[in-house]
């Protein structure tokens, strides 16, 4: 307990950075659930591909810790573009090939879920076997920097060295911490505005709330579903870029535990509810850190899932409850 008080600010700030990543990934689960009532199990892989895109582009551009400010800004910008594009693309492909054909044949939801789990494994294993796959095409040697040891951790060169900006208690908040938290919140606000104000955003809400009425208004459901996957994927891509800035290491199976946590965050906040996903993400990030400070780091994951169970016992629909439907925006 003393440890918690002594390190309160350190735990809070790292909890918030982690929470921001959970929250951004959770948005994808919640958005897709909102319009399709489907748990997109493969969303964790959408995130994981984003981490690799970030890693690859920084490696390709020769990112390092001694770049000028302009260079660093360029690297970070490219990293975000690459991660968001990659994750968005994977999400859209998933929808196109794993879910849409089933939907067109009116498959029961359980089938879609199985398809999602299958797609998740396929995507993870493709990344885990990238060395072999490029080998078939004789590309393993030219691409060695990017594909080698495909089942091991892959580290990104550090492009921005964490430097203390100000202190809270006795924790020195770094530029990276600030960038992750402020950047993530800015992206969340943009998403919120997109869903609330743009025509397609409204289409998403309409389909989530009442698909038949949405069709009567002229909303193209297939289009909306595609955009929803794209938006969820892009959010996961942003999360992946933040994650790589803060953690810097990824692996072909890095999506799994993070995906489960983000899904937990979505359920915690109330699945289908956008603001719930954000709240759930931050609550989970903080609770995990505080909890592990009390009972020990090795209990971190236990704390996260215990929290989920306890909250759902008292609020079965999550903290903010209900779906994209009932909750505003």
């Amino acid at each position: 307990m003393q440890y918690l008080f002594d390190n309160f600010w350190a735990l809070t700030i790292t909890g918030l950075t982690l929470g921001a990543v959970y929250a951004l990934v959770a948005l994808g689960y919640t958005l897709v659930y909102g319009v399709l009532r489907l748990i997109n199990f493969a969303h964790s892989e959408v995130f994981m591909y984003g981490t690799f895109a970030a890693l690859w582009v920084v490696t390709f551009l020769g990112g390092n810790a001694t770049g000028s400010i302009a260079q660093v800004i360029f690297w970070i910008a490219m990293m975000f573009v690459a991660a968001m594009a990659m994750s968005g693309l994977i999400a859209v492909l998933l929808e196109r090939f794993a879910y849409r054909p089933l939907r067109k044949r009116n498959a029961p939801p359980l089938i879609a879920l199985i398809s999602a789990i299958g797609a998740s494994f396929v995507l993870a294993e493709i990344m885990g076997l990238r060395e072999k796959i490029t080998g078939w095409f004789g590309l393993d040697t030219p691409l060695a920097t990017y594909v080698r040891n495909s089942r091991n951790n892959a580290g990104m060169p550090e492009i921005i060295t964490p430097q203390p900006v100000f202190t809270l208690g006795d924790y020195a908040v770094t530029n990276v911490d600030i960038f992750v938290i402020v950047g993530a919140i800015a992206i969340m606000i943009m998403l919120d505005q997109f869903v609330k104000r743009s025509r397609l955003g409204r289409g998403i809400r309409a389909v989530a709330q009442d698909p038949e009425s949405a069709a009567l208004m002229g909303v193209n459901r297939d289009r909306v579903i595609q955009v929803t996957f794209l938006v969820g994927g892009v959010m996961a891509g942003a999360a992946a870029a933040f994650y790589m800035l803060k953690i810097g290491i990824t692996r072909y199976d890095a999506g799994f535990i993070l995906g489960v946590k983000a899904f937990t965050a979505a359920v915690l906040g109330g699945i289908g509810n956008l603001r719930g996903a954000l709240l759930g993400g931050f609550v989970l990030g903080l609770a995990e850190n505080y909890g592990s400070a009390i009972v020990g780091t090795e209990w971190k994951d236990v704390v996260a899932f215990l929290l989920l169970v306890v909250i759902l016992l008292f609020r079965p629909t999550g903290l903010l409850g209900e779906s994209l439907g009932k909750a505003r925006a």
């Binding site: 309409a206 709330q209 038949e212 009425s213 069709a215 002229g218 193209n220 459901r221």
Partner: protein, 239 residues
Amino acid sequence: MLLEVNGLCVNYGRIEAIRDITFSVEEGEIVTLIGANGAGKTTTMKTISGLRPVRAGSVMFDGKDITHMPSHERPVLGISQSPEGRGCFVGMTVMENLEMGTYARPDRKSPAVKKDLERVFELFPRLKERSNQAAGSMSGGEQQMLAMGRALMAKPKLLLLDEPSMGLAPKLIQQIFDIVTEINSQGTTVLLVEQNAAQALKRSHRAYILETGEIVREGTGKDLAADPAVKAAYLGGDV
């Protein structure tokens, strides 16, 4: 002819909800479908909007075959529906619901939309008072008005109203019928489904009677309202 339905058959699995239905609506008319519960009225309305797949037969709108056109393309042609059970977007405000009505309008950004909004608020002052309230927290009657207002915001050529008076107080029912008549007199064609058969027949130019998925009678509103058999079956006494 604005709407021509020809030999329409729609199934739910093996259940034939409507069988070989043929009817039409001319521009400027109010046409009513009446029939007992389960007769197939809602199914007919949903099929015209493209929400139910057609097994056989055809639907023509404005001279165009729309039998298999995706539902979301139909509002662009000028078909708008206030569905049975209202179907309001409960998590959106009243204003957002009304704006959803303009989703398919090519001129949705023009000042004409503002005028239509004022018009809807004139017809339903309650919606103006509640414009920032979540639709889900409105009363059933208020949501009914919202569904109708939303359908009007689409500025349709053909307005489909599936039981617009459901759940409304008698005074309001009267008002709804007045509004339907007024909308029609301003040039919107209306296809109406109503439990309030007496009122509906009085207000409509023509009507069709549906029985277990088939059209069994048709005629002018006046004639049907005066027919003893119709009276006994659907009107529950004098009109």
